[in-house]
Amino acid sequence: MTATAPRTEVEPQEALGPRPFPAHAPVELPESRRYRLKKRLLGPPLDTDRLEHERLGKPTALAVFASDNLSSSAYASEEILRVLIPIVGVAAFSLLVPLTGALLVVLGFLILSYRETIKAYPTAGGAYMVTRDNFGLLPAQVAGVALLTDYVLTVAVSVAAGTAALASAFPSVSAYEVPISVAFIIVIAFGNLKGVRESGRIFAVPTYFFMAMMALLIGVGVYGMINGNLATAPQHAPGLMKFGSAGDGIFYGAAIFVILKAFASGGAAVTGVEAISNGVPAFKKPEWKNARSTLVVMGCSLGAMFLGLSILAAHMKVAPYQDGTPTVISEVGRLTFGGGSLGNVLYYALQAATMLILVLAANTSFADFPRLASFHAGDNFMPKQLTKRGHRLVFSNGIIALSVAAILLVIVTRAKVDRLIPLYAIGVFTSFTLSQAGMAKHHWTLREPHWRRGMAINGIGAVLSFVVLIVVGITKFTHGAWAIIVIVPILVALLVRLNRQYVAEAHQLEDEAHAAVSAPILSRHVVLVFVARLDQSTARAIQYARTLVPDEMRAVHIAWDRHAAEELADRWRTLGLSRIALELVDCPDRRVARAALDVVAREVGDAKTEVTVLLPHRLYRRFWHRLLHDNTGDEIAAAVTRLEHANVTMVPFQMGEPVPASDS
């Protein structure tokens, strides 16, 4: 600032006395094109101080964090029927409601358990923190990775399911499910990059729309059920799943296995319960109280919708279709609302609401994944870039990482939901189990008031989720659960390896840094200006070099072409430079960087010399302009900096019109 102000500017001011600092930078620096685009797309950058204002109130938070959980009600009943119908036939319909009830018991305990978690870990909650504090870093990686894979799957599942809902209403789009799903992911990612509050505002309406439509559906349906005028679904439509029959040589044990498998499929319904506990810091103050009440509202809404839909589906005997569309919820809607024009409108409204909520379930992952990833990264288990808050104060890198992973997954699985769902429940229940067990241990060690009650709740929660985990793991092993069982350990190993690297780097960089900054300086400073030819960029480097006051300074030319070197020498002799001699270094093998390394090595060899290498560096305005030139300068820099006490200064020279800042 002041120290570098050119003398010529200060002197005329002396007469007028000192001046104030300019309010804004004295040079007009245009923003890069990339930043201008970013600003136009995402809005103005948010100051870090705004973080407090980016908190969510309860209604918005419910929309953001509950959409995943609530959306499961749209497909959980169907997933149960899908397992049961081919084997037990119509008996599936009488099993549906009891199975739903069993899942709701699990849900109830999870809600109670997570209420405890939220209270105990109000600042940065979630399975990762609970597990880390109670079991250590390694188990925390397992819990975290299980959740992270799960979030990726949630995005893929929900978007694929939303697209399936769209395809139920408009069968003609079935062929484009993959591109539509990818487009949905991109839209949600974009909304989230705009900031927490912004995305909450964008995505709240559809969540409440869905809740209203479900309330209407269940209300009308139950009313019809009581009056006994509810239609029943046809059981021999083309494309319908083949009904098995209960007597198809099923023996008792196998029946239990089938029921367990159906239960495991429905387990997807309770996923998303953890979302709020991971996102407690996003709530307005008092965080834990708001989070807890939101959690309870979410659990009750899910319970009511899941149960209501299961009852209706069981009563109307709606079987799923072989290829997934039309979905069970859409069939229930069609039958409940009837065929009149009002019925049609309601049917399409329900269909739209389902599609939106399914797509938006992905939004919950977008709220949680980046934060969880930032915890991992903060503990040096994931790339540090994930801890950086972006333009709008969200963890932009996490959002982008999540979208890329989810898009890949959608493409690989061709947007088919049931291929993904078994994968999905495993991660959730792993993290449920670990975090609930962690909470039980937390109560045991701290013995705060009511610790017995808390421990009982979390203990039962842990056991229940562990049981579900085992059931899902066994019954779905061949359906893809094995993939998670393989992937999670590999990812954990990867993170541990990454952590080792970070720790090693930190050792090297930080140990004894305090002493190192006051180490004695070397006694000699040599400046070498590397010159390829005499041109504007070289002249600029020499101009800069002349401001330095080293013990020795000279220009160096690596002569890979002796003829050109001789010409350069001739021109040098005619220059008026008083201090800078030109040294020509023979380079018969044309390895310029190696020869430069030799020159510098000779200088630093005496262990008391600091060498500064000045490299004229041309900056091109367009990417392809750069491609037209070799990058000998970069090669020299890379080679020379391998030597201790060899330092490189790039002296930039702007090609094209002289603009003060880079435009690319």
Binding site: A5, Q13, G17, R19, A23
Partner: protein, 105 residues
Amino acid sequence: MIGAAAAERAPSGSPDAIEPIGDVGWRTRARIRGSIRSMRVQPWACVASLECVVVDDSGGILLVFLGRRKVAGIELGRELIAEGMVGQSRGYLAILNPDIELVGS
């Protein structure tokens, strides 16, 4: 920010008038309001002093706390009101050991 508007309201010459920093005169007493844009701390071996540049919309001024290595409340982004005799340092307007009043929390 607030400086310019406040100066218009307050009668000039009154001791409480806040001046826009750009209008501050050399060798006069001034009261300014702005937020800290940059700070300069000295290592242990140097003479103790803490410098910071306070800016409002009209300009910036250097505040120098001589003999201090740390002043409570002087941190980046902090808004404050400073008052003192305007001198100079390295060609820029500066207030040595100003009276300060922290604004906001």
